[in-house]
Symmetry: C2
Subunit: 448 residues, 2 copies
């Protein structure tokens, strides 16, 4: 019997829980699901009581980890990433394996030696992005290398979007399926990537103006903006000397130009508190950002200030958000970013029956027998319903599959591990495709 | 006898030390000057040994405060502002007064009740800005109010610049007389002020593009950009209902437009580390920020990218800095802001014989007998030499004068105090004018 402990059962854990419950009787697991609000798990676990139980767990009470972790063989943490070092320390202390969907933080990296010495695997980055991105890219890279191809460019994009039938009237074609605050604050540093052997830097105030258009077969066009640090992917992917590498985030066309307008207005700043903001309206806030009151309506003056077409798509998107209305800001002494997040949380709210969509695309350029080639690997996953969203499936299922392989003794490495090894990613990519129809569509063609 | 302890004797303390040594024999003071490097004080103190001594003091060894503070009656801290809460706590603990030239931080504000209970005055903001700005503005405001004037607008600017004869060939007409890092990171939030009763916000990426031109009699034109939070001056100045209030920083004309170009390029970002920066040159760094390599020289492409005249002043100023040379960046894994600071520290270095200059200007608009008026108060202070700079004089002398009045028992308030009370500022402004020729030139005229 393998004892599996899941810490954190929020919305994004739904498909992971379903996976764990599916395999618990088959694999002889005892599954404990620890959450701050275990009551909501009762209906889910009702028919699985022989091998699954809910536990009340408050992450603020760290000492609970000293009870729960030693009572498990494998720990999964779906808690916010900042808690992972605490959980990982407990896992090392009690000699238990850990699986998460979060990035290897510097604190986790420092536990490498201790984890190895304790015979513990801290398997990080097992979700969608990071996770499925590593697995799918490594499979394609490995296949290209085996044929003798030499990589010259690797670009990779991912986005959590809405299914085409759920984009509705929303001109942004975007709703929140992930942490709204992270979306509002996205990219607030300088993005770094490599192009033809030269480093490229994009400061925040230019980030959403320098996008690239991508096409995904059957789903039309998307635009990608560069992620913060594309360079860090060279080492784990074995691409130390590749001339071009870029990682980016996908949105539907138009989103980035309109977001760029919000950035330029100053509405994404999270460092200033605006004092008496509760007494202001949205149009007063926007007015306060304009240089000097000239003639014309507020939207006309905003368009002039930003150099946008008054009747263009960007202005229509800003208007749709309600920026030019007398809607109150509500929050006292808030930052512009907090005010924007509150507004967007309502405007970009999922409606009954909405389906989300995950899109990922890798573009590999390589030389094979002296001939340049391009390969694209594209993934589209649609949400089943409001619970089993595309986000929950693509984050949770790979985590569950790593746990199953670990429980079967089929994952040998110890220490800090990410799923860039074929022994880990091959069976998982196969299982995702065979059992869940989550698979990449591959296209390859010679260039020139 | 009054025992005076000065903590920190860096460059900006030179004129303060001179003031303390001048009055020590006359006022029966024993002056202790505590510094991490007391040896450099020996020549200064040589002829003053009867009433002054140097002490070795390392701020990292906090327990020294428990020896030094109780042995003094008045403590002056010229340490970096972050150490002031520690020093203030020791002063409250041992019932000693404290004088500093730094802002009242939230931590200091929290000591208000304890300081009062201990009969201790924590007199903050006694330097130039904050300090002399409060004193001079309050005197003028008080005078206008006494005549029955009603304030409608208060704008106030200050800058630490170079004397006209020391601007040299430097097209920026600026050199470092203060913390370089603070200059490079200046304004990296949203500036807030009030204009005609309406809040105005300027995001960082617009800050240096929205300047105001000022004229100082005898010294020509300056340009001012808005400081972070002008609104916080309303309460201490008794201007709670004023329609227009703005505080700003002065530079010579041209500086702000060229700095705006550096901001837009991305060179003031301090949040990203650029990896292999030690292997790059300045022209490679600038190249990395440009969208795509088109034809033309690097400066031509930068001018096109930023929408600047290729032969204009801004491009000449960027070129003068050496941005388009193959000079190495030197620092490994540095932020753009760190690289820029290193470059500017050399380019904006004071030369032998250079004199600095402090400029402050207040603009008061008020209604008197139904007639709108404007009053300008302008201060220009030139440095005597490389030791007794205008910065050292205007920061240190008001501090010394507050200490002298405090030692004479002429400052009554206890708790957290700033020099907005006439009993404090009147004699100090008089002494600065009479003994040091530091005085404001006043102009007043009816508008319309």
């Amino acid at each position: 019997m393998t004892r599996i402990l899941l810490l954190g059962a929020g919305r994004s854990a739904s498909s992971l829980i379903q996976y764990l419950l599916r395999y618990a009787p088959l694999e002889h697991w005892q599954v404990s699901i620890a959450d701050v609000n275990p009551a909501h798990l009762a209906p889910v676990l009702a028919t699985h009581s022989a091998y699954a139980q809910a536990i009340s767990f408050d992450v603020a009470q760290v000492e609970q980890l000293d009870v729960l972790v030693p009572a498990a063989d494998i720990v999964i943490s779906m808690l916010p990433a900042l808690f992972h070092p605490l959980v990982a320390q407990a896992c090392v202390r009690y000699g238990r394996h850990l699986v998460t969907a979060s990035y290897v933080s510097p604190e986790i990296q420092l536990m490498e030696a201790d984890a190895r010495a304790a015979g513990v695997a801290l398997i990080m980055e097992c979700g969608l992005d990071p996770g499925l991105d590593h697995m799918s890219a490594m499979r394609a890279l490995s296949e290209i290398r085996q044929r003798g191809g030499v990589l010259t460019s690797f670009k990779s994009y991912c986005g959590g979007l809405m299914a085409p039938n759920s984009e509705g009237e929303n001109p942004w074609k975007y709703k929140f399926t992930w942490n709204p605050r992270n979306v509002v604050l996205a990219g607030q540093s300088t993005a770094k990537y490599l192009e033809n052997g030269h480093p490229r830097f994009i400061p925040y105030q230019q980030l959403f103006a320098r996008t690239q258009v991508l096409t995904v077969p059957g789903y039309g066009e998307f635009e990608g903006y560069a992620n913060r640090d594309s360079l860090s992917y060279r080492q784990p992917y074995g691409l130390e000397s590749i001339p071009t590498i870029l990682r980016g985030t996908l949105r539907r066309p138009g989103y980035c130009a309109a977001w760029h307008a919000l950035v330029r207005l100053g509405l994404t700043d999270d460092t200033v508190h605006l004092g008496n903001s509760a007494a202001m309206t949205w149009q007063e806030l926007i007015e306060a950002y304009l240089p000097v009151a000239t003639s014309g309506s507020l939207p006309e003056r905003v368009a002039t200030y930003l150099g946008l077409q008054p009747q263009g798509l960007e202005m229509a998107m800003l208007t749709w958000l309600g920026l030019f209305t007398n809607r109150p800001l509500v929050l006292p002494d808030a930052t512009p970013a907090q005010l924007l997040e509150l507004l967007l949380t309502e405007k970009w709210q999922l409606a009954e029956g909405d389906h989300d969509m995950i899109v990922m695309q890798h573009l590999f350029d390589f030389t094979l027998n002296g001939q340049p080639h391009r390969r694209t690997s594209s993934l589209v996953v649609l949400g089943d319903d409001a619970t089993h969203t595309a986000m929950a499936k693509t984050v949770g299922l790979p985590v569950g599959m790593v746990v199953r392989r670990l429980a079967q003794g089929k994952i040998a490495p110890r220490g800090v591990v990410i799923p860039t090894l074929p022994d880990i990613y091959e069976p998982i990519l196969d299982e995702l495709a065979a059992d869940y129809n989550i698979h990449f569509e591959e296209h390859e063609f010679a260039l020139d």
